[in-house]
Protein backbone atom coordinates (compact mmCIF):
# COMPACT_ATOMS: atom_id res chain seq x y z
CA UNK A 1 0.00 0.00 0.00
CA UNK A 2 2.74 2.45 0.89
CA UNK A 3 5.65 3.49 -1.27
CA UNK A 4 8.12 4.01 1.60
CA UNK A 5 10.46 1.35 0.25
CA UNK A 6 11.00 3.19 -3.01
CA UNK A 7 14.34 5.00 -3.00
CA UNK A 8 12.90 8.05 -4.73
CA UNK A 9 10.16 8.63 -2.11
CA UNK A 10 10.25 12.24 -0.94
CA UNK A 11 11.18 12.99 2.66
CA UNK A 12 7.66 13.97 3.68
CA UNK A 13 6.41 10.63 2.38
CA UNK A 14 9.07 8.73 4.27
CA UNK A 15 8.08 10.60 7.44
CA UNK A 16 4.40 9.78 6.83
CA UNK A 17 5.17 6.10 6.23
CA UNK A 18 7.19 5.92 9.43
CA UNK A 19 4.34 7.50 11.41
CA UNK A 20 1.76 5.30 9.72
CA UNK A 21 3.79 2.19 10.52
CA UNK A 22 3.68 3.09 14.20
CA UNK A 23 0.04 4.17 14.36
CA UNK A 24 -1.65 1.51 12.21
CA UNK A 25 -1.13 -1.53 14.51
CA UNK A 26 -2.51 0.44 17.48
CA UNK A 27 -5.52 1.65 15.47
CA UNK A 28 -6.19 -1.87 14.17
CA UNK A 29 -5.91 -3.34 17.65
CA UNK A 30 -8.24 -0.68 19.02
CA UNK A 31 -11.05 -1.46 16.57
CA UNK A 32 -10.71 -5.15 17.44
CA UNK A 33 -11.24 -4.68 21.17
CA UNK A 34 -14.55 -5.73 22.79
CA UNK A 35 -14.82 -2.18 24.11
CA UNK A 36 -14.92 -0.79 20.56
CA UNK A 37 -17.74 -3.16 19.57
CA UNK A 38 -19.70 -2.28 22.71
CA UNK A 39 -19.06 1.43 22.16
CA UNK A 40 -20.35 1.26 18.57
CA UNK A 41 -23.48 -0.58 19.73
CA UNK A 42 -24.17 1.91 22.53
CA UNK A 43 -23.58 4.92 20.28
CA UNK A 44 -25.88 3.54 17.62
CA UNK A 45 -28.60 2.78 20.19
CA UNK A 46 -28.32 6.31 21.61
CA UNK A 47 -28.69 7.76 18.11
CA UNK A 48 -31.71 5.55 17.43
CA UNK A 49 -33.30 6.42 20.79
CA UNK A 50 -32.98 10.12 19.98
CA UNK A 51 -34.42 9.58 16.48
CA UNK A 52 -37.30 7.45 17.84
CA UNK A 53 -38.19 10.11 20.41
CA UNK A 54 -38.26 12.80 17.73
CA UNK A 55 -40.32 10.55 15.45
CA UNK A 56 -42.76 9.75 18.28
CA UNK A 57 -43.36 13.44 18.99
CA UNK A 58 -43.80 14.23 15.32
CA UNK A 59 -46.15 11.24 14.82
CA UNK A 60 -48.36 12.37 17.72
CA UNK A 61 -48.53 15.84 16.17
CA UNK A 62 -49.60 14.50 12.77
CA UNK A 63 -52.12 12.10 14.33
CA UNK A 64 -53.69 15.01 16.24
CA UNK A 65 -54.71 16.50 12.92
CA UNK A 66 -55.74 13.10 11.54
CA UNK A 67 -52.84 12.81 9.13
CA UNK A 68 -50.49 9.87 8.68
CA UNK A 69 -47.01 10.21 10.11
CA UNK A 70 -43.74 9.02 8.61
CA UNK A 71 -43.88 5.90 10.77
CA UNK A 72 -47.29 5.00 9.29
CA UNK A 73 -45.90 5.39 5.78
CA UNK A 74 -42.87 3.30 6.70
CA UNK A 75 -45.20 0.53 7.91
CA UNK A 76 -47.17 0.70 4.66
CA UNK A 77 -44.00 0.58 2.60
CA UNK A 78 -42.85 -2.47 4.53
CA UNK A 79 -46.18 -4.19 3.84
CA UNK A 80 -46.03 -3.34 0.15
CA UNK A 81 -42.44 -4.55 0.09
CA UNK A 82 -43.48 -7.86 1.66
CA UNK A 83 -46.27 -8.24 -0.89
CA UNK A 84 -43.89 -7.40 -3.71
CA UNK A 85 -41.55 -10.09 -2.47
CA UNK A 86 -44.33 -12.68 -2.35
CA UNK A 87 -45.34 -11.87 -5.93
CA UNK A 88 -41.73 -11.97 -7.13
CA UNK A 89 -41.11 -15.33 -5.49
CA UNK A 90 -44.31 -16.79 -6.87
CA UNK A 91 -43.45 -15.52 -10.35
CA UNK A 92 -39.99 -17.03 -10.22
CA UNK A 93 -41.38 -20.33 -8.92
CA UNK A 94 -44.06 -20.39 -11.63
CA UNK A 95 -41.41 -19.71 -14.27
CA UNK A 96 -39.31 -22.56 -12.90
CA UNK A 97 -42.31 -24.91 -12.91
CA UNK A 98 -43.18 -23.92 -16.47
CA UNK A 99 -39.62 -24.53 -17.64
CA UNK A 100 -39.49 -27.88 -15.86
CA UNK A 101 -42.78 -28.90 -17.49
CA UNK A 102 -41.57 -27.80 -20.92
CA UNK A 103 -38.35 -29.74 -20.43
CA UNK A 104 -40.27 -32.83 -19.32
CA UNK A 105 -42.49 -32.61 -22.40
CA UNK A 106 -39.50 -32.55 -24.74
CA UNK A 107 -37.95 -35.59 -23.01
CA UNK A 108 -40.93 -37.86 -22.24
CA UNK A 109 -38.75 -40.94 -21.73
CA UNK A 110 -36.98 -39.45 -18.74
CA UNK A 111 -36.73 -42.15 -16.04
CA UNK A 112 -38.51 -40.19 -13.29
CA UNK A 113 -41.03 -38.44 -15.52
CA UNK A 114 -43.86 -40.17 -13.64
CA UNK A 115 -42.87 -38.36 -10.50
CA UNK A 116 -41.12 -41.21 -8.74
CA UNK A 117 -37.72 -40.45 -7.30
CA UNK A 118 -34.63 -42.64 -7.18
CA UNK A 119 -34.35 -44.03 -3.66
CA UNK A 120 -30.88 -42.82 -2.82
CA UNK A 121 -30.68 -39.72 -4.97
CA UNK A 122 -31.47 -36.15 -4.07
CA UNK A 123 -35.04 -35.12 -4.78
CA UNK A 124 -35.98 -31.99 -6.65
CA UNK A 125 -37.08 -29.27 -4.26
CA UNK A 126 -40.52 -27.83 -4.80
CA UNK A 127 -41.33 -24.18 -4.22
CA UNK A 128 -41.25 -23.58 -0.50
CA UNK A 129 -44.48 -21.88 0.38
CA UNK A 130 -43.90 -22.46 4.08
CA UNK A 131 -40.77 -20.41 3.88
CA UNK A 132 -42.61 -17.29 2.82
CA UNK A 133 -43.08 -15.88 6.21
CA UNK A 134 -44.94 -12.64 6.89
CA UNK A 135 -42.82 -9.60 7.64
CA UNK A 136 -41.65 -8.97 11.16
CA UNK A 137 -44.08 -6.86 13.09
Amino acid sequence: MTSGKQPEAPLWRQAFDAAEKRVTPHAENLVRTPGFATGVALLRRAQNAAKDTARGVSARAWHLVNLPAGTDLARLRAQIGALDREVRRLTVQLETERRARAAAETTPEEPDADGTQPAGGPRPRPARRGAQRPPRA
Binding site: M1, T2, S3, P10, R13, F16, E20, V23, T24, A27, E28, L30, V31, R32, P34, F36, A37, T38, V40, A41, L42, R44, R45, N48, G70, A74, R77, A78, I80, G81, A82, D84, R85, R88, R89, T91, V92, Q93, E95, T96, R99, G121, P122, R123, P124, R125, R128, G130, A131, R133, P135, R136
Partner: protein
Protein backbone atom coordinates in the same frame (compact mmCIF):
# COMPACT_ATOMS: atom_id res chain seq x y z
CA UNK B 1 6.97 22.59 -11.55
CA UNK B 2 5.50 20.54 -14.35
CA UNK B 3 4.29 17.93 -11.84
CA UNK B 4 2.57 20.62 -9.81
CA UNK B 5 0.72 21.78 -12.91
CA UNK B 6 -0.34 18.20 -13.61
CA UNK B 7 -1.40 17.81 -9.95
CA UNK B 8 -3.54 20.94 -10.22
CA UNK B 9 -5.16 19.73 -13.44
CA UNK B 10 -5.88 16.22 -12.14
CA UNK B 11 -7.01 17.60 -8.78
CA UNK B 12 -9.60 19.78 -10.49
CA UNK B 13 -10.72 16.80 -12.57
CA UNK B 14 -11.12 14.67 -9.45
CA UNK B 15 -13.03 17.31 -7.49
CA UNK B 16 -15.25 18.15 -10.44
CA UNK B 17 -15.82 14.44 -11.07
CA UNK B 18 -15.12 14.81 -14.80
CA UNK B 19 -13.20 12.44 -17.04
CA UNK B 20 -14.16 9.42 -14.95
CA UNK B 21 -13.10 6.15 -16.55
CA UNK B 22 -15.99 4.14 -17.95
CA UNK B 23 -16.65 0.97 -15.97
CA UNK B 24 -18.57 -2.21 -16.81
CA UNK B 25 -18.32 -1.54 -20.54
CA UNK B 26 -18.08 -5.06 -21.95
CA UNK B 27 -21.14 -5.46 -24.20
CA UNK B 28 -23.88 -7.55 -22.64
CA UNK B 29 -27.58 -8.31 -22.86
CA UNK B 30 -30.13 -8.60 -20.10
CA UNK B 31 -31.54 -12.08 -20.65
CA UNK B 32 -33.70 -12.39 -17.54
CA UNK B 33 -34.85 -10.08 -14.80
CA UNK B 34 -37.07 -10.15 -11.76
CA UNK B 35 -37.40 -7.22 -9.40
CA UNK B 36 -34.04 -5.48 -9.24
CA UNK B 37 -32.19 -8.68 -10.19
CA UNK B 38 -30.87 -9.11 -13.72
CA UNK B 39 -29.08 -11.89 -15.53
CA UNK B 40 -26.50 -10.55 -17.96
CA UNK B 41 -25.09 -12.43 -20.91
CA UNK B 42 -21.80 -11.05 -22.21
CA UNK B 43 -21.52 -10.93 -25.97
CA UNK B 44 -18.77 -12.96 -27.54
CA UNK B 45 -18.06 -14.55 -30.89
CA UNK B 46 -15.12 -16.46 -29.44
CA UNK B 47 -17.00 -19.03 -27.36
CA UNK B 48 -15.02 -22.26 -27.46
CA UNK B 49 -15.96 -23.94 -24.21
CA UNK B 50 -19.07 -25.48 -22.81
CA UNK B 51 -20.77 -25.46 -20.34
CA UNK B 52 -21.27 -21.74 -19.81
CA UNK B 53 -19.98 -19.88 -16.79
CA UNK B 54 -22.47 -18.24 -14.44
CA UNK B 55 -21.12 -15.64 -12.01
CA UNK B 56 -23.08 -14.93 -8.84
CA UNK B 57 -22.12 -11.55 -7.50
CA UNK B 58 -22.03 -10.27 -3.92
CA UNK B 59 -25.09 -8.74 -2.28
CA UNK B 60 -23.34 -5.63 -0.94
CA UNK B 61 -21.18 -4.26 -3.74
CA UNK B 62 -21.39 -3.30 -7.39
CA UNK B 63 -20.61 -5.96 -9.94
CA UNK B 64 -18.56 -3.71 -12.24
CA UNK B 65 -15.43 -4.60 -10.24
CA UNK B 66 -15.37 -7.76 -12.39
CA UNK B 67 -15.53 -5.65 -15.54
CA UNK B 68 -13.66 -2.59 -14.34
CA UNK B 69 -12.16 -0.96 -17.41
CA UNK B 70 -11.30 -2.20 -20.89
CA UNK B 71 -7.97 -3.99 -20.63
CA UNK B 72 -8.39 -4.46 -16.88
CA UNK B 73 -11.47 -6.65 -16.82
CA UNK B 74 -11.89 -10.12 -15.37
CA UNK B 75 -14.92 -10.68 -17.61
CA UNK B 76 -12.98 -9.62 -20.70
CA UNK B 77 -10.27 -12.18 -19.91
CA UNK B 78 -12.82 -14.94 -19.47
CA UNK B 79 -14.38 -14.06 -22.82
CA UNK B 80 -10.96 -13.94 -24.47
CA UNK B 81 -10.28 -17.41 -23.08
CA UNK B 82 -13.37 -18.71 -24.91
CA UNK B 83 -15.97 -18.95 -22.14
CA UNK B 84 -19.63 -18.11 -22.49
CA UNK B 85 -20.10 -15.78 -19.53
CA UNK B 86 -23.27 -14.85 -17.64
CA UNK B 87 -23.59 -12.83 -14.45
CA UNK B 88 -26.35 -12.40 -11.87
CA UNK B 89 -26.41 -8.77 -10.79
CA UNK B 90 -28.66 -7.94 -7.82
CA UNK B 91 -29.24 -4.32 -8.83
CA UNK B 92 -29.88 -1.77 -6.13
CA UNK B 93 -32.25 -3.10 -3.48
CA UNK B 94 -34.93 -0.73 -2.19
CA UNK B 95 -37.83 -0.99 0.26
CA UNK B 96 -39.41 -3.77 -1.84
CA UNK B 97 -36.37 -5.94 -1.10
CA UNK B 98 -36.25 -5.34 2.65
CA UNK B 99 -38.02 -8.67 3.33
CA UNK B 100 -35.74 -10.68 1.02
CA UNK B 101 -34.23 -13.58 2.90
CA UNK B 102 -31.23 -15.66 1.90
CA UNK B 103 -33.61 -18.35 0.62
CA UNK B 104 -34.94 -15.88 -1.98
CA UNK B 105 -31.49 -15.80 -3.53
CA UNK B 106 -30.48 -19.39 -2.89
CA UNK B 107 -33.77 -21.12 -3.72
CA UNK B 108 -35.32 -18.75 -6.26
CA UNK B 109 -33.02 -16.36 -8.06
CA UNK B 110 -29.89 -18.48 -8.49
CA UNK B 111 -31.84 -21.58 -9.63
CA UNK B 112 -33.89 -19.41 -12.02
CA UNK B 113 -30.68 -17.92 -13.43
CA UNK B 114 -29.14 -21.39 -13.83
CA UNK B 115 -32.24 -22.58 -15.69
CA UNK B 116 -32.25 -19.52 -17.96
CA UNK B 117 -28.56 -20.03 -18.77
CA UNK B 118 -29.24 -23.66 -19.66
CA UNK B 119 -32.20 -22.62 -21.78
CA UNK B 120 -30.20 -20.03 -23.74
CA UNK B 121 -27.04 -22.09 -24.15
CA UNK B 122 -28.65 -25.47 -24.62
CA UNK B 123 -26.09 -26.86 -22.18
CA UNK B 124 -27.04 -29.51 -19.65
CA UNK B 125 -24.90 -27.96 -16.91
CA UNK B 126 -23.21 -24.72 -15.94
CA UNK B 127 -19.98 -23.84 -14.20
CA UNK B 128 -20.88 -21.70 -11.20
CA UNK B 129 -18.62 -18.94 -9.92
CA UNK B 130 -19.30 -16.99 -6.71
CA UNK B 131 -17.56 -13.75 -5.85
CA UNK B 132 -17.17 -12.69 -2.19
CA UNK B 133 -20.62 -12.95 -0.54
CA UNK B 134 -21.87 -14.28 -3.87
CA UNK B 135 -19.60 -17.22 -3.08
CA UNK B 136 -21.54 -17.80 0.14
CA UNK B 137 -24.80 -17.74 -1.81
CA UNK B 138 -23.31 -20.18 -4.32
CA UNK B 139 -22.15 -22.49 -1.52
CA UNK B 140 -25.61 -22.44 0.08
CA UNK B 141 -27.23 -23.08 -3.31
CA UNK B 142 -24.92 -25.98 -4.14
CA UNK B 143 -25.38 -27.46 -0.67
CA UNK B 144 -29.16 -27.02 -0.59
CA UNK B 145 -29.60 -28.32 -4.16
CA UNK B 146 -27.24 -31.28 -4.51
CA UNK B 147 -29.16 -32.20 -7.66
CA UNK B 148 -28.45 -28.83 -9.29
CA UNK B 149 -27.11 -29.01 -12.85
CA UNK B 150 -23.63 -27.79 -11.97
CA UNK B 151 -20.40 -28.96 -13.56
CA UNK B 152 -18.15 -27.21 -11.05
CA UNK B 153 -18.11 -24.54 -8.36
CA UNK B 154 -15.48 -21.83 -8.00
CA UNK B 155 -15.57 -19.29 -5.18
CA UNK B 156 -13.34 -16.30 -4.81
CA UNK B 157 -12.61 -14.39 -1.57
CA UNK B 158 -15.53 -16.11 0.10
CA UNK B 159 -15.70 -15.87 3.90
CA UNK B 160 -16.78 -18.90 5.92
CA UNK B 161 -15.22 -18.32 9.34
CA UNK B 162 -16.95 -15.13 10.41
CA UNK B 163 -15.10 -15.03 13.74
CA UNK B 164 -12.12 -13.91 11.63
CA UNK B 165 -13.95 -11.11 9.84
CA UNK B 166 -12.70 -8.44 12.23
CA UNK B 167 -14.55 -5.46 13.66
CA UNK B 168 -17.37 -5.54 11.11
CA UNK B 169 -18.52 -8.90 12.50
CA UNK B 170 -17.35 -8.20 16.07
CA UNK B 171 -19.79 -5.32 16.51
CA UNK B 172 -22.69 -7.68 15.87
CA UNK B 173 -21.35 -10.13 18.42
CA UNK B 174 -20.78 -7.24 20.83
CA UNK B 175 -24.43 -6.28 21.15
CA UNK B 176 -25.27 -4.37 17.98
CA UNK B 177 -28.46 -5.59 16.30
CA UNK B 178 -29.13 -5.39 12.57
CA UNK B 179 -32.30 -3.44 13.37
CA UNK B 180 -30.09 -0.76 14.93
CA UNK B 181 -28.52 0.02 11.57
CA UNK B 182 -31.48 -0.30 9.20
CA UNK B 183 -32.62 2.74 7.24
CA UNK B 184 -36.20 3.87 6.64
CA UNK B 185 -36.45 1.33 3.78
CA UNK B 186 -35.65 -1.54 6.10
CA UNK B 187 -32.25 -2.20 4.50
CA UNK B 188 -28.70 -1.78 5.77
CA UNK B 189 -27.73 1.47 4.02
CA UNK B 190 -24.59 1.59 1.84
CA UNK B 191 -22.90 4.14 4.12
CA UNK B 192 -23.01 1.61 6.98
CA UNK B 193 -21.52 -1.05 4.72
CA UNK B 194 -18.78 1.33 3.54
CA UNK B 195 -18.08 2.43 7.11
CA UNK B 196 -17.88 -1.20 8.18
CA UNK B 197 -15.26 -1.92 5.51
CA UNK B 198 -13.31 1.21 6.40
CA UNK B 199 -13.14 0.17 10.05
CA UNK B 200 -11.23 -2.94 8.99
CA UNK B 201 -8.26 -0.75 8.03
CA UNK B 202 -8.71 2.43 10.05
CA UNK B 203 -5.67 4.29 8.70
CA UNK B 204 -6.07 3.25 5.07
CA UNK B 205 -8.25 6.25 4.26
CA UNK B 206 -5.51 8.71 5.26
CA UNK B 207 -2.85 6.69 3.44
CA UNK B 208 -5.04 6.66 0.37
CA UNK B 209 -5.22 10.46 0.24
CA UNK B 210 -1.50 10.84 0.95
CA UNK B 211 -0.65 8.45 -1.89
CA UNK B 212 -3.10 10.26 -4.15
CA UNK B 213 -1.39 13.59 -3.41
CA UNK B 214 2.01 12.06 -4.09
CA UNK B 215 0.96 10.61 -7.43
CA UNK B 216 -1.70 13.08 -8.46
CA UNK B 217 0.47 14.15 -11.40
CA UNK B 218 0.13 10.72 -13.04
CA UNK B 219 -2.88 10.43 -15.35
CA UNK B 220 -2.61 6.65 -15.23
CA UNK B 221 -2.66 6.58 -11.42
CA UNK B 222 -5.54 9.03 -11.17
CA UNK B 223 -7.57 7.03 -13.64
CA UNK B 224 -6.96 3.78 -11.71
CA UNK B 225 -7.67 5.62 -8.42
CA UNK B 226 -11.00 6.87 -9.73
CA UNK B 227 -12.04 3.43 -10.91
CA UNK B 228 -10.89 1.52 -7.80
CA UNK B 229 -11.93 3.94 -5.06
CA UNK B 230 -15.09 4.69 -6.99
CA UNK B 231 -15.96 1.01 -6.56
CA UNK B 232 -14.84 0.66 -2.94
CA UNK B 233 -16.99 3.66 -1.93
CA UNK B 234 -19.92 2.65 -4.09
CA UNK B 235 -21.91 0.00 -2.27
CA UNK B 236 -25.55 -1.00 -2.38
CA UNK B 237 -28.08 -1.51 0.41
CA UNK B 238 -28.11 -4.95 2.02
CA UNK B 239 -31.72 -6.22 2.27
CA UNK B 240 -32.71 -6.11 5.95
CA UNK B 241 -34.12 -9.63 6.37
CA UNK B 242 -31.12 -11.18 4.59
CA UNK B 243 -28.81 -9.11 6.80
CA UNK B 244 -30.59 -10.36 9.97
CA UNK B 245 -30.22 -13.93 8.79
CA UNK B 246 -26.58 -13.39 7.83
CA UNK B 247 -25.73 -11.92 11.22
CA UNK B 248 -27.51 -14.65 13.16
CA UNK B 249 -26.56 -17.68 11.10
CA UNK B 250 -23.17 -16.76 9.69
CA UNK B 251 -21.76 -14.26 12.18
CA UNK B 252 -23.13 -15.24 15.61
CA UNK B 253 -23.59 -18.98 15.02
CA UNK B 254 -20.62 -19.04 12.61
CA UNK B 255 -22.81 -21.57 10.77
CA UNK B 256 -20.51 -22.35 7.86
CA UNK B 257 -17.82 -23.65 10.21
CA UNK B 258 -20.06 -25.06 12.95
CA UNK B 259 -22.37 -26.76 10.42
CA UNK B 260 -25.40 -24.84 11.66
CA UNK B 261 -26.80 -23.67 8.34
CA UNK B 262 -30.44 -23.50 7.34
CA UNK B 263 -32.03 -22.26 4.14
CA UNK B 264 -35.80 -21.94 3.91
CA UNK B 265 -36.21 -24.06 7.03
CA UNK B 266 -34.03 -26.92 5.74
CA UNK B 267 -30.71 -27.87 7.33
CA UNK B 268 -27.88 -27.41 4.87
CA UNK B 269 -24.43 -28.96 5.03
CA UNK B 270 -21.43 -27.79 3.06
CA UNK B 271 -20.22 -31.38 3.14
CA UNK B 272 -23.07 -32.16 0.70
CA UNK B 273 -21.17 -30.23 -1.97
CA UNK B 274 -19.47 -32.91 -4.03
CA UNK B 275 -18.72 -30.99 -7.20
CA UNK B 276 -15.29 -30.20 -8.57
CA UNK B 277 -14.42 -27.23 -6.40
CA UNK B 278 -11.94 -24.35 -6.40
CA UNK B 279 -11.53 -21.72 -3.69
CA UNK B 280 -9.34 -18.69 -4.28
CA UNK B 281 -7.96 -16.76 -1.29
CA UNK B 282 -5.90 -13.60 -1.04
CA UNK B 283 -3.19 -13.34 1.61
CA UNK B 284 -3.35 -9.53 1.81
CA UNK B 285 -7.13 -9.28 1.75
CA UNK B 286 -8.27 -6.71 4.32
CA UNK B 287 -11.97 -7.08 3.53
CA UNK B 288 -12.18 -10.87 3.71
CA UNK B 289 -9.09 -11.84 5.74
CA UNK B 290 -7.39 -15.07 4.63
CA UNK B 291 -8.21 -16.69 7.99
CA UNK B 292 -11.91 -16.19 7.22
CA UNK B 293 -11.62 -18.17 3.97
CA UNK B 294 -9.09 -20.77 5.16
CA UNK B 295 -11.43 -23.49 6.53
CA UNK B 296 -13.55 -23.68 3.37
CA UNK B 297 -11.46 -26.26 1.54
CA UNK B 298 -11.99 -28.72 4.42
CA UNK B 299 -15.70 -27.99 4.78
CA UNK B 300 -16.88 -29.03 1.30
CA UNK B 301 -17.37 -32.71 0.58
CA UNK B 302 -15.82 -32.69 -2.90
CA UNK B 303 -13.04 -35.11 -3.70
CA UNK B 304 -11.85 -32.96 -6.59
CA UNK B 305 -11.15 -29.78 -4.62
CA UNK B 306 -8.42 -27.20 -4.90
CA UNK B 307 -7.29 -24.10 -3.10
CA UNK B 308 -5.44 -21.23 -4.74
CA UNK B 309 -3.65 -18.83 -2.37
CA UNK B 310 -2.36 -15.60 -3.80
CA UNK B 311 -0.27 -12.75 -2.51
CA UNK B 312 -2.90 -10.16 -3.38
CA UNK B 313 -5.53 -7.94 -1.85
CA UNK B 314 -9.30 -8.29 -2.19
CA UNK B 315 -9.53 -6.25 -5.37
CA UNK B 316 -6.17 -7.48 -6.60
CA UNK B 317 -7.72 -10.93 -7.10
CA UNK B 318 -9.77 -9.69 -10.03
CA UNK B 319 -8.20 -6.43 -11.21
CA UNK B 320 -4.64 -5.40 -11.94
CA UNK B 321 -1.47 -7.22 -12.84
CA UNK B 322 -1.62 -9.99 -10.18
CA UNK B 323 -5.07 -10.93 -11.38
CA UNK B 324 -4.07 -10.94 -15.05
CA UNK B 325 -0.91 -12.94 -14.36
CA UNK B 326 -2.05 -15.40 -11.73
CA UNK B 327 -5.68 -15.50 -10.59
CA UNK B 328 -7.40 -15.43 -13.93
CA UNK B 329 -5.11 -17.93 -15.70
CA UNK B 330 -5.50 -20.33 -12.73
CA UNK B 331 -9.28 -20.01 -12.76
CA UNK B 332 -9.34 -20.39 -16.52
CA UNK B 333 -7.14 -23.48 -16.23
CA UNK B 334 -9.47 -25.01 -13.63
CA UNK B 335 -12.55 -24.30 -15.73
CA UNK B 336 -10.98 -25.52 -18.97
CA UNK B 337 -10.29 -28.93 -17.52
CA UNK B 338 -13.94 -29.09 -16.49
CA UNK B 339 -15.28 -27.98 -19.86
CA UNK B 340 -15.49 -29.35 -23.35
CA UNK B 341 -13.91 -27.54 -26.23
CA UNK B 342 -16.20 -27.15 -29.17
CA UNK B 343 -16.51 -25.08 -32.32
CA UNK B 344 -18.69 -22.05 -31.65
CA UNK B 345 -22.23 -22.85 -32.72
CA UNK B 346 -23.29 -19.22 -32.57
CA UNK B 347 -22.11 -16.01 -31.10
CA UNK B 348 -23.07 -15.50 -27.48
CA UNK B 349 -25.40 -12.67 -26.72
CA UNK B 350 -27.73 -12.90 -29.72
CA UNK B 351 -30.89 -13.43 -27.70
CA UNK B 352 -31.92 -9.85 -28.05
Amino acid sequence: MERNALRARNGIKLVAGVDRPGVGLTPKDVVWERGRTQLWHYRSDRVRYSPPLLIVFSLVSRSYILDLTPGNSFIEQLLDAGFDVYMVDWGEPDERDAQNRLEDYVDDYVPAAVERVREISGAEEVNLFGYCFGGDLSLLYAAHHPDAPLRSLTVLATPVDFTQMGPMADVFRGGLEVDDVLDENGNVPPRVVVQGFKTLTPTAEVTRYVTLWERLWSDEYVSAYQAMTGWSDDHIPFPGAAARETVQMLVRDNGMVTDRLAVGGDRVHLSDIRLPFLTVRADRDHIVPPDATAPLIDLVGSEDKHELRLNAGHMGLVVGRTAARTTVPEIIGFLRTRSEESAPARAAGQEG
